[in-house]
């Protein structure tokens, strides 16, 4: 089998990242209740890089995508595109310029296309809104877009209504719509989770091919660790609105550092071993976001919890010798002598033995 095409390592160049999220926060209010969906979220995505964002429902991963897509307004924090900060309340022109560079692919291909419009209409709009084509130029541009995402002949598909297409074909239209404006970054919110297993790989491969051809960057949101590993150069893990771990995908998924990431990995299906052999102690579910503990949000479920965890929210620390791999966990605090490393290594060994 050919190995995955690896883009020339653009991220190694000392250039500004395409996207930089700094201290992003989102509080949803309804009446007197308020929910902090995202807390102090920091992330950089380099040109041509795919960053996987992994977490369970309620972890805040979709909110991060919607904040970045400017579908929600952040309660705090800054979004920088190519180094330039987007104003907190951007005017229509600034917003349009931003949307030209940052596009989104939605999870549900059955609800992300307007049932009353044809595929051709859906794809012509972004071209016209952003003034990329006008009049007669639009139709050929739409057809070539369709053909680029594997819907050929484009003239056939442009007349179709969404209900005349399969889930996989609809998702290809969704990708074409995002591609139309030649963006720098595509936010893909679980683009394959509603699709049949047999076509998930095709969609992921299409996205990777487009990355290679166009130098696109992706924020690839998923709850599937294996999918994240397949797609991404780096993986970020969220829990209860917090970034808890980030690092190169092979290293992070191969040997996860944060106890939550370890739980996620142990819960993933492992066909090579029987169910009884891989018992997982989940210790409950994601906490109520309206009443988070002051310390580490995972502490109530964590098998390694200690007094320091309850005191304050742990900071992100680098793993010894791996500056790209960071984790929000006191077990890796150098000033405490990184006590967790030995402890976690012992548990992992016990589990695999």
């Amino acid at each position: 089998m050919p190995s995955l095409p690896i883009k020339p390592n653009l991220s190694a160049m000392p250039s500004e990242p395409v996207l930089r999220l700094e201290g992003l926060e989102k509080v949803f209010r309804s009446g007197r209740r308020s929910v902090k969906a995202v807390t102090d979220f920091n992330l950089e995505i380099a040109r041509g890089e795919v960053v996987g964002l992994v977490g369970e429902s309620g972890s805040g991963k979709s909110t991060v995508a919607r904040l970045t897509a400017q579908l929600h307004r952040a309660s705090a924090g800054t979004i920088r595109l190519n180094g330039t900060a987007l104003p907190t309340r951007p005017n229509a022109r600034a917003l349009l310029a931003y949307r030209r560079k940052v596009q989104m692919i939605f999870q549900d291909p059955f609800s992300s296309l307007n049932p009353t419009h044809t595929v051709g209409y859906a794809l012509s709009r972004p071209l016209e809104i952003h003034g990329l084509t006008r009049g007669r130029e639009t139709a050929p541009a739409v057809r070539s877009l369709l053909e680029r995402v594997g819907l050929s002949p484009g003239a056939l598909y442009e007349q179709k209504f969404p209900h005349e297409l399969s889930g996989g074909q609809r998702q290809r239209v969704g990708i074409a719509r995002a591609l139309a404006v030649q963006p720098l970054l595509i936010l893909a919110d679980e683009p394959t989770s509603m699709l049949d297993v047999s076509i998930r790989l095709d969609i992921m491969n299409l996205m990777l091919d487009l990355r290679d051809q166009e130098g696109l960057s992706y924020l690839f949101i998923t709850h599937d660790l294996a999918g994240a590993r397949y797609m991404s150069d780096r993986v970020a893990v969220m829990y209860a609105g917090h970034l808890v771990e980030i690092g190169p995908s092979a290293g992070l998924i191969g040997s996860p550092a944060h106890p939550y990431t370890q739980l996620l990995k142990s819960a993933a299906p492992k066909p090579e071993s029987g169910l009884a052999a891989t018992r997982v102690d989940a210790r409950g579910e994601i906490p109520d976001l309206t009443q988070l503990p002051p310390g580490c949000p995972f502490e109530p479920r964590c098998p390694h919890a200690r007094a320091e965890c309850r005191a304050a929210l742990p900071r992100m620390v680098e793993l010894p010798g791996q500056s790209a791999h960071q984790v929000r966990c006191v077990l890796y605090y150098p000033e405490l002598g990184a006590p967790g490393i030995a402890e976690i290594a012992a548990t992992t060994q016990r589990a695999s033995a």
Binding site: M1, P2, S3, L4, P5, E56, R66, A69, Q70, L95, L96, R99, Q103, M104, F106, S111, S112, L113, N114, P115, T116, R125, P126, F161, H163, S166, R177, V181, D196, V197, S198, I199, R200, L201, D202, N205, H223, D224, L225, A226, R229, Y230, G254, L263, L264, S266, A267, A268, P269, K270, P271, E272, G274, L275, A276, T278, R279, V280, E285, I286
Partner: protein
Amino acid sequence: METLKRAFNDRRAVVGALILIVLGLMALLAPLLAQHPPSQLSNDTWLHPNSQHWLGTTALGQDVFSQLLYGSRLSLLVGLVTGLIATVISVIVGLASAFFGGVVDDILSGITNIFLVLPGLPLVIVAAAYLQVSGVVPVIAVISFTGWAWGARVLRSQALSLRDRDFVQAAVAGGEGPLRVIFAEILPNMVGLIAANFFGAALYAVLAEAGLEFLGVGDVSQVTWGTMLYWAQSSQALLQGAWPWIATPGLCIAALGTAFALLNFAVDEVANPRLRSERVAAESKPLALKPAGAPPAGDALLQLRHLEAGYLTEKGTVRAVKDVNLEVHRGEFLGIAGESGCGKSTLAFAVAQLLRPPGQVLSGEVWLNGQELVRLPPEALRQTRWKDFSMVFQSSMNALNPVMRVGDQIADAMRAHGVSDKSLIEARVKELFGMVGIRPEYMVAYPHQLSGGMKQRVVIAIALALEPRLVIMDEPTTALDVVVQRSILQEIDAVRRRLNLSIVFITHDLSLLVEMSDRVAIMYAGEIVELAPSHDLYANPLHPYTRRLMNAFPPLEGERTRRDGIAGRPPDLGRVIQGCPFAPRCDRAMTGLCEVVAPLRLEVSAGHVVACHLYDPNVMKGRAEDHAIAAD
């Protein structure tokens, strides 16, 4: 064009439109059709219908037919104008309320709610009497003023739900401005509702106008259907035998209402392309099932013999389950995997005898614990269900009764099957909760207080309540997060081992299935194409489809290599399939063989059955010989 053609194909729309056209022509052509001026008095009073006066004359000698024609002008005008005004107000208020939200929504919703509780018709009566202006303008004004609120409220909630839909979010993310989002994205999806709103308001206006005039509150000097009724009633037309005077305006109003209702039915379908699919035949034909054979001899708890099931549509029979033969042993965990559309859910429903028209079992036998289920009378089946076998579906957790405590729902299921001892039930509920991993204090919780994972645990507890021997689970954890899924599956597995339950577990997630099951069956195009002990299937998948399916799950370990999905789509099960159903998508298909001859199901090693020519020694030997001959 397409839309018009569709509308003409709908009989209801055609009839409705015809009625409306007739009424419209009556109004437009009144001066041509009427033989007499509508208000002209004459001495020919109380005439019965004749060649001069088709519908007879009134107490004052006016021609009833002419009055009916001219009356339709004002009545329809009131309906049309009022319908338009009320609908426009509803749309503006509803959309503004939904789109701007916040304070705007609060104010507009407040006003709408006040108008909703205003008693419409009495207000119209009072206002009409108070205004005392002649003509229909005050009537139109008053009815529009009181008639928009209901529509505004309905349109607001529709617009609110559309605003959060992904395609609206996608339009915003693509850079569409607010006007375009409202008018090009949201509004086209509301056409059906707006049309219904218009029809409703217009009919309300016609009726209200008739009512006002009938009560004499309006301007009775004009000719409308309403004033006709007023004068006919006050002159005691029925006693004089002048029934057309009172019946025909009434009939016209009824015809208008019918036309609106018929058009309403059709409008939704025309406005929404999604509803334009072919309808399926809703009725199932009773099948002459062959008498069942002898009960199974071995230790199989469940045995399927040549089971065929499908859906009867206008185009013919969709055969979703074809010749399935399968045994499930006591205490066994059997997994069934395949793409969507391969018949695995139909198989589950067919086994449980839960297929509803147009779906039904076409032939074959389902033996469970010595009983044949397909031929079992409904009452006996009801007894067997839950006691001998139970089901858990992906959507089961949404089927919990929202106003009943979850503990009571389990108790209810037990009482329905004859367990009446209260303390026994309570102890059992507590035990079941423990089994599926819910703390007992949640017994008094309502479903909305529980997470999706907890609700699905409750559903599983209900399925286990009567200690069935078999539980059929169709994607029970697919909607749940991985960690929750894992912990529920662990509970299921533990319960199975403790109670020696058999489980048939259906999912598209083959990697999960291999990990959990004793044996795995792979379904494709309604057939079981491979069946093997799970470790055997994992180590040595034989069928090319199984291999591709297995390859479709990227691994968590090892080298990152590019993998491919399965090109193409499963075949249309409504068509007759020749040869191997997977042949068109198979990279190892043998031309001249696979697309022509259906492969046999063969047991190639202990318990490992596969339906593929590649593993049929006779076929492969024959082909080798053919090649040898061809080489000579």
